[in-house]
Symmetry: none
Subunit: 246 residues, 2 copies
């Protein structure tokens, strides 16, 4: 069960070889590998290779078809990306709404195909009507026409995100130094306040509730031990200057 | 309050004019319009125009800068896109986790900058350390390196989605003082580092990558204006003692 095995990305009559290469890279970045091309315009493989970057290994796996029906063989759910509502309204959902449903179908081992139309004209009515559902990508109404490879990227990103959300990798909590203990921060605050008094900076400008503000400042950071030690060293250095002077 | 007014997309030393055009289209598709370029390699404007398609109107609005600091002026939250964990770990969240937070900040009228690095090498440590938070885009571990324009597309898509998802006005998290601007925090860091040198506290104990650690410390807090003013006052007080002593 995986995005790579169960999802086909199908591009219909693509004109730009650059878009094919970019789509491959976008797919591999998100864990997809099955690209089907239906009657692409003459392909410049050098350009495909350049834009696919480290996804060039997927070029040999591209499947070519003369008809959409052949490409869809074996598919259980066919999704057509579309930016416009058609004369005959079809079940339509946004990517954001549909993606979790698709993922739950993938987890039930369903085979899914996602269709992307021509750069200039999208999908024909006939092609759209081969799909189970139309999917729109959320965009700004003032300029809703996405580049083809960008559409592939966004769809793959959203599916990747929802696929991995269930077995969510915990947030990167990596930090290289242990967080300082409460009491060490307390000592730091006391030290800072006492030196502030020595320096008579409390009265200058006299901001409101300055002591509370200092405490809030040092508490909210989640200071680590090394930071506390350095700040204590800094304050120690200041202290020395003050006392030498006296 | 809008994605268009409050979010800057900043590309650093971009090599490919195609990527710049594609990024513009990706941005407009999702309702963004502010692109900043820091020292791009020689731009082929014909190519930018071709790939930006109906976003070509945004080409005249591109802002060019020689330094990242200039581009970040006025920013309240700086997000650096990054695929690798660095020596000094920075607060890091995935796009999926961070996006709703950024949207709630946008709804509080915050100014946000999102940094994208070079096609081949991403962002430098110095650039990463100017950010409040690092953001990773979820990808397949086997090939995690996204094309630059694709990264812009995914980030813009996710923000667009979350922006429109939360139709409810977000509850304002209460904070009584405005968040400090990027450049004021920069000044504070520089001031602190210079005094640390005067105090010769850098060499004592010599913790690893201390300068990076100081930057991370001040950047990650989301300091407010009053805190910055107070800390500047504090450092000013220390400075006086140092110089009196001499």
């Amino acid at each position: 069960m995986s995005l790579s095995n169960q999802v086909k990305i199908i591009l219909i009559e693509t004109t730009s070889s650059g878009n094919i290469g970019s789509a491959l890279r976008a797919m591999k970045n998100m864990g997809f590998s099955n690209l089907c091309l239906i009657n692409p315009k003459k392909i410049n493989f050098e350009e495909v290779k350049a834009l696919s970057a480290n996804a060039a290994d997927l070029i040999d796996k591209i499947k070519f078809f003369n008809s959409l029906d052949e490409a869809l063989e074996g598919s259980e759910i066919v999704v057509a990306t579309s930016s416009r509502q058609r004369k005959v309204p079809w079940p339509t959902e946004s990517l954001n709404d549909l993606s979790p449903t698709l993922i739950s179908e993938i987890k039930k081992n369903k085979k899914i195909s996602i269709l992307f139309g021509r750069e200039d004209r999208g999908l024909t009515n006939e092609e759209l009507q081969k799909s189970n559902i139309h999917m729109t990508i959320e965009t700004n109404k003032k300029y809703p026409v996405l580049n083809l490879a960008m559409s592939v990227q966004i769809v793959c990103y959203k599916l990747f995100l929802d696929y991995h959300k269930s077995k969510k990798v915990s947030k990167n909590k990596y930090w290289d130094v242990p967080i300082a203990k409460h009491e060490h921060v307390t000592n730091l605050i006391d030290h800072f306040l006492s030196i502030s008094e020595d320096l008579e900076v409390f009265n200058k400008g006299n901001p409101r509730q300055i002591e509370s503000r200092i405490k809030r400042l040092f508490r909210r950071l989640g200071l680590d031990e090394m930071e506390v030690n350095f700040l204590r060293g800094f304050l120690g250095g200041v202290e020395k200057k003050i006392h030498k002077k006296k």
